[in-house]
Amino acid sequence: MESNHVLDAKGLACPMPIVKTKKTMKDLEPGEVLEIQATDKGSTADLQAWAKSTGHEYLGTETEGDTLRHFLRKAGAIEAEGVVIPEISLDEFKEKVDKNENLTVLDVREIEEYEEGHIEGAIHIPLGEVEQRAGELDKEDVIYVICHSGRRSELAAQTIAKKGFKQLFNVVPGMRDWTGKTI
């Protein structure tokens, strides 16, 4: 999994991995991903619970030998900047997909999530890369932005709205509750 920052908490015992994560998280921008490398086995459950209580998004843990690589996406909204993205419900969106309307769907989940199953024809750009790669999209298109739950897609839509995209819809919730076809 890609990350914006890496925190080395290897060899540290509880509570230090979380104490350090909390400190490091302060320096991240909303939406950025922090990788925490830890060897304390209790860190997985604790980071998950901590993320839940703080609103950060726990993306998963990869194991490499004795090292656990945890991924957290920083919470926080850019709403304060005044960009409001209209929402479309998953049901309404599904109707459009089912009717074979020629939709532009932007899936901003991580590559692993995308590969597990996505809507046919969806363009894949993970949230972390949306800003640099917005040029791959057409500003005139109506774009339906989707992720797992609807939060990352909102951030992604806000990011590209600032680049002049006008016709954006955030699909809420996201692939989490998607019952339609995936490939």
């Binding site: 509880c14 509570p15 979380i18 086995k41 604790d46 619970a49 209580s53």
Partner: protein, 375 residues
Amino acid sequence: MPVNSMTAKEVAKKVVNKESFFILDVRNEDAFQDWKVEGENVQYLNIPYFDLLDGVEEILPQLPQDKEVLVVCAKEGSSIMVADMLSEEGMTVSYLQGGMKAWSEHLDPVKVGDLKDGGELYQFVRIGKGCLSYMVVSNGEAALIDATRMTEVYMDFAQEIGAKITHVFDTHLHADHISGGRKIAETTNATYWLPPKDAQEVTFDYQPLEEGQDVTIGNTTINIQPLYSPGHTIGSTSFIVDDTYLLSGDILFIDSIGRPDLAGLAEDWVGDLRDTLYTRYKELSDDLIVLPAHFMIMEELNEDGSVSEKLGTLFEKNHGLNIEDETTFREMVTGNLPPQPNAYQEIRETNMGKINPDEEKQREMEIGPNRCAVR
């Protein structure tokens, strides 16, 4: 204000004496829900340590001023941090040394009786996990039954009382905790006995334990009579010691009975379980004192911290021995089973010698409460 540290032994004593104290458990909520330090007069507050990183002021009103406060976490690091913060706010608090890990591993020997020839029977109470193991001592020799992986505790104890461990038994292949039996037998050159029907996949040598095969401890006659009592596992074997004590393994507990599913065969074994409890045990003397391999709740502890009850009393009071209808019994022990113990398959494989996890991994596998019973 200084921060005090409290050992698992001290906490166990408080629990046995039914003392009233307050636990601030700073593990995450799932861990706390799963298992905790239990006590009849213990009050709890569970706030994960990571919610207290910015300070403890907010929880101060929730902590009692007139009671001892014990801060508990998984391994102790977080509890020390939180205890320090509380101390800076002027509170006197303690933390549990070694955390839940130490609590899970703490063993207390309690003498449960004198044997006819002058020997003694000890019960080792693993209070945090509800495991009970036994040492029969006679004339300088000792036998161990259902020893846990904290092998040094038994070996040190035997040395202290001047006994040599000559026989080591497991009543069955355990699924909830890692047996120390084989290691102790290897270290002390004792004979390691296992019921052969539970030992079909083991990777080491053992002495097959069969009914009618008395083992004598010491040079007098402390008989350990194996009694084949299938149901929890197919090989489960009970012991009658000195014609007085019935070591019932995981078949019969004080307030519950064994579950038949931990080797995956509930439907097949429920009949054996019924037969053992309602026929084989029924034929035994009501005066036998039942000494099980587990307890589930603190109410099962006697005043001295031991766990025992007369067989006759259990036939009157234990719900699991009083279900006349066989179909109802069948439904109870197959239909309404509690969650299985943490990592129970890996624990079984470890006890068979198939895998050899390191100590840290063994600890982790054993995390959680005891779940060998159905009520």
